[in-house]
Amino acid sequence: MVNDSIHKDYSKEFLDSLLKGNKESCSSIVKQLVEKNIPIPQLYENLIKKSLYDIGDLWESNTISVATEHLASAIIEKILNETYPEILLEQKINKKVIVSCVETELHQIGLKMIADIFELHGWDTYFLGTSTTTGDLIAFAENIHPDVIALSLTLDFNFPLLQRMIEEFHSNFPNIAIIVGGQAFAKNNALVAQLKHCIYLPDIQKTEEFISRF
């Protein structure tokens, strides 16, 4: 993305602060970038997502504990709240999206970003977060009448759950568009190939393209 260089100065400091649990420093970096008019999608992709991926790598190399990962994600979610008002400023366009994780999935930050992107484009966004059952999702959709359902999957072994969710949802609401995304698909084209009744979108940019076409 265009503004990668801008973030380079910040991303190391941001990651260090996250690892130390220094939420004030993280907040202030994001605030500075917002003041520099860095667009939210870039902030999300190039600073926040990148740092979380780095944290994942550190966990994978057994360098940090899950507790550190927990604290980092708690700080990130707090920061997403702080930038939330920037997103809410836009005008509404009378379209609705329900965003949800697959049941038993605890990774919700990516999905939250996607929800924010819809919101940024004027959609009414209903964020169900983690631990949503298919029954809950269908009941909610009956109430809300959404235009789009967005489902996130991070852990690949949860794929069968996602498939069942999509299948059941689609048979109830054949006309509602379903989009899916998340890390389970990132390095796994075989999973993408098995997807039915839905569109896979890998990141914010592709999601924005989808929104503008919708």
Partner: protein
């Protein structure tokens, strides 16, 4: 302190303590995966001792390192893939087909992270509280706005109705003037000057009434828009009552009405806006004359105490039914019945009276029965 040199002498005690430790995890496995023993801390972490609880690195991964000695050093995450897990900073040793896992809870880190989590939690709880409060305030504001909005809708309806009533009120006199104007023209063409004079008289009096109506309307609307400022002063009540009576001398004489004012002392002084009180008296008095038959009577009276003065006009006129009384003060329902000599009006006068009395912080009311006359009273706080 070089603990390593001194400790061997205490190894029995140290082992005893470690065996029951809740902080340092110790587990011994024989290869391939047979568990031999584990201390308290480790059993709490992996209750079933199950090697599938090694999430990262997996147990298999550790087994695959075939060297002897320290085979792994770093965080091991234990738990399962469906829930929130826990990591220990571990050293893993392999010796004689056995694997020893020594896991340490990084206390300093735990304390620091716990503190941060606590701070975050507190921040979020405080935020939640202030949001709840804001939500409540917003709800209340919304409710107030709804009430106001409904009032505005009502007011707007009133105004619409008012405009249509007003148009109707103006249409009548214009119809009269149009008709008589045409006839006047004809009479003048035929040089019938006597008739012409009569018609001109009707037109003139209709113009007068219409002008009065417009004048009243203007006063009322200026008062509604708060263009008329309340300017209180000390007023001799009897004086302005007498002035009012003088204004209507012709009508009083025409109907031979008896007007009584003895009840009001010459010395009675009230505090209020002179122009407004005069307007109220003029309107009430003109109404009383209008609805009082030949040789009837109208009586002014006043009751005074330190907190208020109450001024009343009692007439021996036609009176009103309760339904008519109910309609008197309302913009959209106000109507005007013809006087005993066919006098017309628009019922605006009373609206103005009500407005002006209320500007004084007072209240206007009426008691009336058909054929028993009416008493209009208004009080003005002193």
């Amino acid at each position: 302190m070089n603990t390593q040199n001194n400790l061997p002498a205490w190894s029995a005690e140290i082992l005893e303590t470690l065996a029951s430790s809740n902080g340092i995890g110790i587990a011994l496995y024989s290869i391939p995966t047979k568990s031999l023993s584990a201390n308290n801390a480790f059993i709490q972490l992996i209750p079933s001792f199950n090697t599938t609880s090694f999430i990262h690195p997996t147990f298999k991964h550790l087994l695959d390192i075939k060297e002897e000695g320290l085979i792994f050093s770093g965080y091991i995450t234990f738990g399962d893939n469906l829930s929130v897990n826990h990591s220990l900073a571990c050293n893993v040793y392999r010796k004689n087909d056995e694997i020893l896992i020594l896991g340490d809870n990084n206390l300093a880190q735990m304390i620091a992270q716990n503190k941060e989590m606590h701070a975050l939690n507190q921040e979020i709880i405080n935020l939640q509280r202030s949001l709840l409060k804001e939500k409540k305030t917003l709800q209340q504001t919304l409710e107030q706005l709804n009430v106001l909005n409904n009032k505005l809708i009502q007011l707007n309806d009133d105004k619409d109705q008012f405009v249509s009533i007003l148009a109707h009120d103006l249409r009548n006199p214009f119809a009269v003037m149009l008709g008589y104007g045409q006839m006047l023209n004809k009479k003048l063409e035929n040089a019938a000057f006597e008739d012409a004079k009569k018609y001109a008289g009707v037109i003139n009096s209709t113009i007068n009434k219409t002008y009065n109506l417009l004048e009243n309307l203007l006063t009322w609307s200026r008062s509604q828009m708060n263009r008329i400022k309340y300017k209180p002063e000390y007023i001799k009540l009897k004086e302005i009552i007498n002035e009012t009576i003088e204004l209507f001398e012709n009508q009083i004489n025409a109907k031979d009405i008896f007007v009584a004012t003895e009840d009001i002392k010459d010395s009675l002084v009230v505090r209020g806006d002179k122009q407004m009180i005069k307007t109220v008296l003029r309107n009430l008095f003109s109404n009383a004359i209008k609805y009082t038959p030949q040789q009837g009577s109208i009586q002014f009276s006043a009751q005074y105490n330190t907190s208020q003065v109450t001024i009343s006009l009692k007439d021996s006129g036609v009176g009103m039914s309760p339904e008519t009384v109910n309609k008197l003060w309302n913009l959209s329902t106000r109507n005007s019945e013809k006087g005993t000599n066919g006098e017309t009006g628009t019922g605006f006068g009373l609206l103005i009276c009500k407005d002006f009395v209320e500007k004084h912080g007072g209240h206007i009311s009426v008691e009336s029965k058909p054929n028993k006359g009416s008493v209009f009273s208004f009080n003005i706080p002193q």
